[in-house]
């Protein structure tokens, strides 16, 4: 199995994701320059966080036209896994691979801090090692994490069990006061209908080492590996 980490101009969590896969999980991983289109020998593509194209115009708006994205549509069609973290999530939304959009954080400021998220759906390639309603401690760092989708879309997400993570408190209680950015229904991560594309705002790669005060992020990467290696 092999991971690919896409590097867009302005990505800045690409090396962090690469490090976790390679040095902590000891799995094969390669960087993929945004202009490359040969991605068929990969099993999971990571769209990392950062500020692709400076987030100019709108976060993710320009990156979604990168050549690699055309290949990613096929890749997704084939049922292979794509995970978009933070800016990667924003790109997936702009690209239409996930539904909804991101707007500015409710407090109009960049927010970098540890938050708690509750796993709402453990029946996915990305969360299969999590327990039902498990609470994960993972940091966020973004300007535009205020997830928005219209009422119909939200109902659709709920109906198909596409909401994977919600912001909550330490005990797992989901309420408005534990919503850091105003995201609708406390949503912090969703998957597509087919279940092979995940977008999430928190950074699992930043909570994958004991020294960084949480290893909860590893559960997501390990779930992916588990899913691929055991062909779940």
């Amino acid at each position: 199995m092999k991971f690919g980490v896409v590097v867009f101009p302005g990505s800045n969590c690409d090396q962090d994701c690469f490090y976790v896969i390679k040095n902590i999980l000891n799995k094969p991983v390669e960087y993929l320059w945004h202009q490359s289109t040969e991605i068929n020998n990969f099993d999971c593509i990571i769209l990392p966080g950062g500020f692709s194209y400076g987030d100019y115009l709108r976060a993710g708006a320009i990156a979604r036209f990168s050549p690699i994205m055309r290949s990613i549509y096929d890749f997704v069609e084939k049922g292979k896994l794509v995970i978009g973290i933070c800016n990667g999530f924003q790109i997936l939304l702009e690209a239409g691979l996930l539904s909804g959009a991101m707007i500015r954080n409710e407090n109009c400021r960049f927010i970098c801090k540890y938050v708690y998220i509750r796993v709402e759906n453990t029946n996915t390639p990305f969360t299969n090692l999590c327990k039902t309603n498990q609470v994960l401690k993972i940091p966020i760092a973004h300007n535009e994490g205020n997830y928005y989708i219209d009422t119909e879309g939200l109902e659709e997400l709920k109906k198909n069990n596409q909401i994977v993570f919600r912001y909550c408190d330490k005990s797992g209680e989901v309420s408005k006061i534990h919503n850091p950015n105003g995201a609708i229904d406390n949503i912090s991560g969703i998957i597509n209908k087919k279940g092979n594309v995940l977008g999430l705002m928190p950074h699992p790669e930043r909570s994958s080492e004991k020294l960084l005060s949480s290893t909860d992020g590893l559960l997501i990467f390990k779930s992916i590996i588990n899913w691929i290696e055991n062909k779940l």
Partner: protein
């Protein structure tokens, strides 16, 4: 014929102009005049400060690397830390968002042009009183500029400090420190060598940004808020991020001989300094410089301070290869000249010579001997009759007031806007005594801090500067790091003022003496003069940035209490000292009194004891006592971790001094340690061995902070109350 008012308006004095005539043996062209004026300005030429800066030690306990743009220390066989701090005060006062943003960009370029990957930023900020709307506007703009640039460029902002003081109204201070990691064998110099090699310009196009900004912005005081409207430089962090990656990739080829960023004085400075350092000459074809706007005059191209640009000296024949790397990242890269053996910088524009100057003459600016005079007011300023301080006895209330002070309260409103975790090295997050970053591929970590109490420096420049060094070292030690080396950013008023120059001289002497005592090299630095407004000059503010090493990253220690029933130890002593304290300023509106005393031997003993105790894993937490004294320090230990606040009962403070001095005095060389019971005797022995005063003063536990003096309860406040005040205060004051 160049008339005096022309060269004078460019900031050149008549003797300097005569010197130029002497060097060129003819009249300068406009381009030459502009080049001399910026290279010989205070900002680039260090005319007033160079002689005194020689007092700072260049060697210390760690093996140092001292380059043109930044310096560093070797930490491991294949690993050196490069770091530097720089000011961007005046541009931030003019346009806070862009001023701070471009300040961040500039210092990052200084680091990666050494071949180092930038891994952290710290910001030392000073503003006028927070209750004035204009100061809040500047403060918010600066924070916004830092987050805008730092977050996008992907370098974590892990620490720093923020103070609000009247003297910074009308002249804020924005000092940014950047830290990078590099293989010591691969450090690149800002040097041009090898006749026939090419000079390649890379990065953003050149526009009319900050033309003359260097000398105009840096050597004029602000008379009127709106009088000066220089062309503000706009920062592009996205371009900078691409520039970092492209540069580091290009350096891997080994085909780059030297490299320098274009900061103050742009192309002028990078060409002349690279060429002079390499003792070569250069021929430049100015029309090859990528332009953003048409019709730029040759001198404008030379002076432009457009951001995100660099100059490289590339081996002959390798130009295409290097250009390709930059183009891959969507960046301009153009050959603009060649290295010659003439030792002249020969600049042509469309085949016409516009400047021809001996390279060395530009980097040897004429130096001034400034007059230094001790101000007469100091004697009165330092005297403080403690009997006249009416004794307000409600210590609970005083503690809450101090915890709510904008100079003490939690800065989470600020640091939560900074991405402080990207690159996944930040082991100790902002808010502790020092930031700790692990070094991937080793078991080591570094700790970094910035410090300066300018109130102390105002009343006692020499000791104030010594304290800044001592406190920075103390902060590092509290995180478990051994201090290794220093960078400084020296912010002062107009050096023509003998009082200012006396302050400057004494601060340098103070830094030098303390650094020598702790065996720390000053590896890089920056001087910012003319920090004045019509309201007056800023306090002398020599910011000390310090780096230390933690040999075992697992031993990194933070400042707050970890568990109940730990023993609380005070290393050091409490004295009857209240001068220049936050307590006097906030509670009595008194700003006088001498800075606290400093005994370097005692300081060393306390630090050694702490470091040894941490390295033997005896300690749960270690925290330095600074502004607000012991009571504030203890409160911070109790309430920092919101999810796990731990109270304390303090019963062992048997110092025979005033109650307020005991609680809020800012006596130096004190560290509060908490540790499990079975560590106490070990730590006591370590303290005895090092001659450090040791006292068990209490234990952790409960939901209150209670402080006794003998049998009397001086203070008893609930953690909830302390936390709310400390945690929410900044936000309440600025919204």
């Amino acid at each position: 014929m160049i008339k005096p008012h022309i060269y004078k308006s460019l900031g050149l004095a008549t003797p300097q102009y005569k010197k130029i005539l002497e060097i060129l043996k003819r009249e300068p062209t406009p381009t030459e005049l502009a080049i001399f004026s910026v290279e010989w300005s205070e900002h680039c030429g260090y005319c007033s400060s160079k002689k005194l800066l020689k007092l700072l030690p260049k060697k210390g306990k760690a093996k140092t690397l001292i380059g043109e743009d930044a310096g560093g220390v070797v930490i491991d066989k294949n690993l050196a830390i490069v770091f530097k701090m720089e000011s961007h005060n005046h541009p931030s006062q003019v346009e806070p968002h862009q001023g701070a943003a471009t300040g961040v960009g500039g210092i990052i370029r200084d680091i990666f042009t050494c071949g180092a990957r930038p891994i952290a930023l710290l910001d030392s900020l000073r503003f006028g009183p927070i209750n004035k709307a204009y100061n809040r506007y500047i403060f918010k703009g600066v924070v916004d500029g830092i987050q805008f640039y730092g977050n996008c460029v992907g370098v974590p902002t892990v620490g720093g400090e923020i103070y609000f003081e009247k003297c910074y109204s009308g002249n804020c201070l924005v000092n940014v420190m950047c830290i990078g990691v590099v293989d010591p064998e691969k450090v690149v110099r800002a040097k041009a060598e090898g006749v026939g090699n090419s000079l390649i310009y890379a990065g953003a196009s050149t526009g009319r940004d900050g033309i003359g900004g260097c000398s105009v912005l840096a050597s004029c005081e602000f008379k009127e808020k709106d009088e000066k409207r220089p062309t503000v430089q706009i920062g592009d962090p996205f371009m900078e991020k691409c520039l970092i990656e492209a540069t580091l990739e290009a350096l891997e080829t080994g085909d780059i001989v030297g490299i320098k960023d274009m900061g103050a004085a742009g192309l002028t400075c990078s060409i002349s300094e690279m060429v002079a350092t390499g003792d070569v000459g250069a021929q430049i074809e100015l029309e090859r410089v990528p332009l953003r706007q048409k019709n730029l005059e040759p001198w404008e191209i030379m002076m432009s301070e457009s951001q995100e640009r660099m100059l490289m000296c590339v081996k002959e024949g390798k130009e295409k290869k290097i250009k390709k790397i930059f183009q891959k990242w969507g960046l301009n890269a153009e050959v603009i000249g060649k290295i010659t053996n003439t030792k002249f910088i020969d600049i042509k524009y469309k085949n016409q010579t516009v400047a021809k100057i001996p390279a060395k003459s530009l980097v040897n600016a004429p130096l001034y001997n400034r007059k230094a005079e001790k101000p007469k007011y100091l004697k009165i300023l330092r005297s403080l009759n403690l009997k006249k301080i009416s004794k307000i006895k409600n210590y609970n209330k005083i503690l809450l007031t101090l915890l709510g002070s904008e100079n003490i309260c939690s800065k989470k409103w600020v640091y939560e806007q900074y991405d402080h975790m990207v690159q996944t090295n930040t082991v100790i997050l902002p808010g502790s005594d020092a930031a700790v970053l692990k070094l991937k591929g080793t078991n080591k970590a570094i700790a970094a801090t910035t410090d300066c109490n300018s109130r102390y420096c105002f009343v006692n420049p020499y000791r104030g500067a010594q304290i800044a060094v001592a406190e920075a070292a103390r902060n590092l030690v509290c995180s478990g790091a051994e201090p290794l080396a220093v960078t400084d950013c020296l912010n002062f008023g107009n050096p023509n003022n003998p009082t200012v120059f006396w302050e400057f001289k004494n601060c340098i002497k103070g830094i030098a003496s303390a650094c020598k005592y702790f065996n720390l090299a000053v590896v890089s630095g920056n001087v910012s003069f003319y920090n004045e407004s019509p309201k007056g000059r800023v306090y002398p503010t020599p910011i000390i940035g310090m780096i230390g090493v933690i040999y075992d990253v697992g031993k990194a220690t933070s400042h707050y209490f970890k568990k109940e029933d730990d023993v609380i130890i005070l290393l050091g002593v409490c004295k009857n000292e209240l001068g220049a304290s936050e307590y006097l300023s906030k509670i009595y509106k008194v700003f006088s009194g001498d800075a606290p005393s400093l005994d370097l031997a005692l300081e060393k003993a306390v630090q050694k004891t702490t470091l040894e105790s941490i390295s033997r894993s005896l300690v749960s937490s270690a925290h330095d006592c600074s502004e607000g004294g012991l009571a504030v320090a203890l409160a911070e230990c109790c309430i920092f971790d919101k999810e796990n606040m731990i109270g304390a009962i303090i019963y062992g403070l048997d110092f025979n001094i005033r109650e307020d001095a005991l609680l809020f005095g800012e006596t130096q060389s004190r560290i509060i340690i908490s540790c499990p019971k079975n560590s106490v005797e070990h730590i006591r022995k370590i303290a005895q061995k090092n001659n450090a005063p040791f006292k068990v003063i209490g234990k952790t536990g409960g939901k209150n902070l209670i402080i006794y003096k003998k049998n009397k309860v001086l203070l008893d406040v609930s953690l909830e109350k302390l936390h709310n005040r400390w945690y929410n205060s900044l936000e309440e004051k600025i919204i």
